[in-house]
């Protein structure tokens, strides 16, 4: 087998064994954490799915990371945000901050909901996950700038951004904004919940930063030809 398991045949094995290498042999397949896939009965499988199942019964499978779950409450965007907020590999603290943020946002909105008159109740959004996703959407820039060298000088050229890059920029701005521009005694989850609620209603510093980027790109429209891809 081309898999790098021959190391385990050595007489001495190190005390700490790496379970999931980042450079897996391409022979290994990805694990499937979702429960619904395994509940489909034999008859309803498409030919591709049948083929995939047969392949999985012969090939080795990579170990699943700690962050994937088969839970119904698993959210990949939120997991990415938690990873970006994490410092020094301390996922427990980062996850704790995010759960406190979600709780704080929900408390503020539900309190407003219960105190609002009947007509206004339908407009108040109480779901913290919906608020988080919408706020992130509102912070994503549409167009970005790249520094391109032409004739000895560097110009800021407007370029299209991929989806991943846009999501990354939105999350990065949100986190840096909450870390830098807060009072010494405000806790992170409090500031984060304020910023997310502001971004949900298209106000706040992060949305302002997105607009400034758009304005810069608009003003540097003339250099768009310097882009060659």
């Amino acid at each position: 087998m081309a898999a790098s398991l021959t190391g385990l045949l050595k007489p001495w094995t190190p005390r700490v064994l790496l379970v999931r290498w980042s450079r897996y042999n391409p022979y290994y397949l990805e694990p499937e954490p979702r429960k619904e896939v395994y509940h489909i009965p034999e008859t309803e499988l498409t030919p591709e799915q049948k083929e995939e199942r047969e392949l999985k019964s012969v090939r080795p499978i990579k170990a699943a990371t700690n962050s994937v779950t088969s839970s119904v409450f698993n959210d990949p965007v939120l997991s990415k945000f938690v990873n970006m907020m994490m410092k020094d590999g301390d996922k427990i603290i980062a996850k704790g901050i995010i759960t406190q943020t979600l709780e704080n946002m929900k408390r503020k909105q539900v309190e407003k909901y219960h105190k609002a008159p009947e007509g206004k109740k339908a407009e108040i959004e109480c779901n913290p996950y919906a608020i988080f996703h919408q706020a992130l959407e509102n912070c994503k820039p549409v167009i970005g700038l790249a520094s391109i060298q032409k004739g000895g000088k560097f110009y800021q050229v407007p370029i299209p951004l991929t989806d991943n890059r846009r999501r990354f920029l939105a999350m990065k701005w949100m986190i840096t904004e909450c870390r830098d521009n807060k009072h010494r005694r405000t806790l992170m989850y409090e500031k984060l919940s304020q910023e997310l609620l502001a971004a949900f209603s298209k106000e706040g510093n992060v949305v302002k930063r997105k607009h400034e980027l758009h304005k810069m790109a608009e003003s540097n429209r003339a250099y768009a030809h310097y882009r060659w891809w």
Partner: protein
């Protein structure tokens, strides 16, 4: 108007002229002598007008739904079928009447504590997460559970001329001991008892910045801040008793200050709140007076001593004297006086206590039984007591809690409202009330 009972509503006739040439107006309904008449000579229009008048007058009743019994609300809604009233009876699963009439059939259902009671009965007793929940939901609902009902039934049937019975609530962490205690305190308060609620006895044996040597007894220590805080809350809870109870003894505080016999208790409490230095001794005096007068036949009141975290009174403290030697709990005035209160040498009331590992000192986190948490000394002092076990939610109670959160729009994640999500919640929380509450907080 043209009156006709048998035929359907006639078409409008051509205009009718009166004798002096003017046109008379044709109407369908007309009010005459206080009654609305219509073409069919039925009372429908009259009833409709009355309903709209009633609706505008009694709409305030539907807003203050907490003040009415279930039966009254049901009658109100039945009387006014056409009035669309915002959720008097539904969708909240069950809203119950006062604590006195709760019984076995109400197990698992929620009852609402009137908002006015929160400031008077519970200035300091409720768990902090529950206080946040009350603020968010804009109302305070407590689930009726077996331990609290058992306690209340014991309190109803006890003989108050005999020495006091001690009740001890015990259970694993997060099973609802403090909430059961608060339920019982609310019951006692509504029945007119004098309630002595110590929110957490552990607060008196740790984290004390100022430890003064006691003026009354040389080897003891005073805790002025904790004592004055507690006195202030005691005053809020029992306003109406303070002027009725008279002191039976003269208390001398300093060379110039003393409280005479026959003065009302309120004066003593006010003095303790204002003169922080002698507040611990004031607490001791108040407890002694209440102990003496609780079972009295003339103007007798019933005294409920509710102590949360009673295992803090025995064991060790984290406080140190000036020479860095540890302070034993009996060397603190507050603890000494409270221990005398928990003894069963007085009559006319009850002692309801809760064990707590959460704030305790030097106790392992897996300990929850009375023997483990109280220690030998504590168990011997509390013995004999009535143990009341508090278990995790049963299936019915879990259902009720889940429905309550759904009703209050607290479970917002779309998957948490499905069967799959509910199974996952049961699995993750193991039906532990506090773990479930923390899970549902961010879902």
């Amino acid at each position: 108007m043209l009156f006709n009972r048998s035929l359907p509503a006639p078409a409008r006739p051509s205009s009718i002229t009166t004798l002096d040439g003017s046109d008379s107006e044709y109407v369908d309904n007309y009010k005459y002598l206080g009654v609305w008449l219509d073409c069919k000579l039925s009372f429908q229009t009259h009833i409709k007008h009355l309903q709209s008048k009633i609706k505008s007058r009694i709409s305030f009743l539907f807003c203050n739904k907490a003040s009415f019994t279930y039966a009254a609300k049901h009658t109100l809604v039945k009387l006014t079928p056409s009035i669309t009233v915002p959720s008097v009876l539904s969708p909240k699963p069950h809203i119950l009447p006062t604590t006195a009439c709760q019984s076995e059939q109400h197990l698992g259902q929620y009852y609402t504590v009137p908002p006015s009671h929160f400031h008077t009965v519970f200035p300091h007793g409720l768990p902090p997460r529950y206080q946040q929940q009350v603020k968010t939901f804009n109302e305070g609902c407590v689930m009726v559970r077996q331990p609290a009902l058992e306690l209340i039934s014991h309190l109803k049937r006890a003989d108050y001329s005999k020495p006091t019975l001690r009740y001890l609530l015990y259970g694993v962490k997060g099973s609802g001991k403090t909430m059961s205690l608060c339920h019982t305190v609310h019951y006692c308060s509504t029945q007119g008892w004098l309630v002595l609620h110590i929110p957490d006895a552990h607060l008196w044996v740790k984290n004390c910045k100022e430890l003064l040597p006691s003026s009354y007894h040389a080897s003891r220590f005073d805790q002025p801040i904790q004592a004055s805080n507690w006195l202030r809350n005691f005053r809020t809870t029992n306003e109406h008793f303070l002027s009725k109870i008279k002191l039976r003894q003269r208390y001398v505080w300093t060379k110039r200050e003393s409280t005479e016999e026959g003065r009302p208790l309120g004066e003593l409490v006010d003095m303790g709140v204002s003169r922080v230095k002698s507040s611990s001794d004031v607490v001791g005096a108040v407890l002694k007076e209440l102990r003496l007068q609780a079972g009295g036949t003339e103007g007798g009141f019933r005294l409920a001593v509710a102590v949360d975290g009673v295992n803090g009174l025995w064991g060790r403290t984290t406080l140190k004297k000036e020479d860095k030697s540890p302070v034993a709990p009996e060397e603190l005035t507050l603890v000494h006086n409270l221990r005398k209160m928990i003894n069963n040498d007085w009559c006319g009331g009850a002692v309801i206590a809760t064990l707590s590992q959460t704030g305790s000192l030097y106790a392992p986190s897996s300990a929850y039984l009375p023997q483990e948490l109280l220690g030998e000394e504590g168990f011997d002092s509390m013995d004999p007591f009535v143990p009341v076990p508090v278990s995790l939610y049963s299936e019915k109670e879990f259902e009720s809690c889940y429905l309550y959160y759904l009703d209050r729009h607290w479970l917002q994640h779309p998957h948490s409202q499905t069967e799959e999500g509910k199974k996952e919640l049961i699995f993750l929380s193991n039906r532990n009330p506090s773990v479930l509450e923390r899970l549902c907080a961010f879902l």
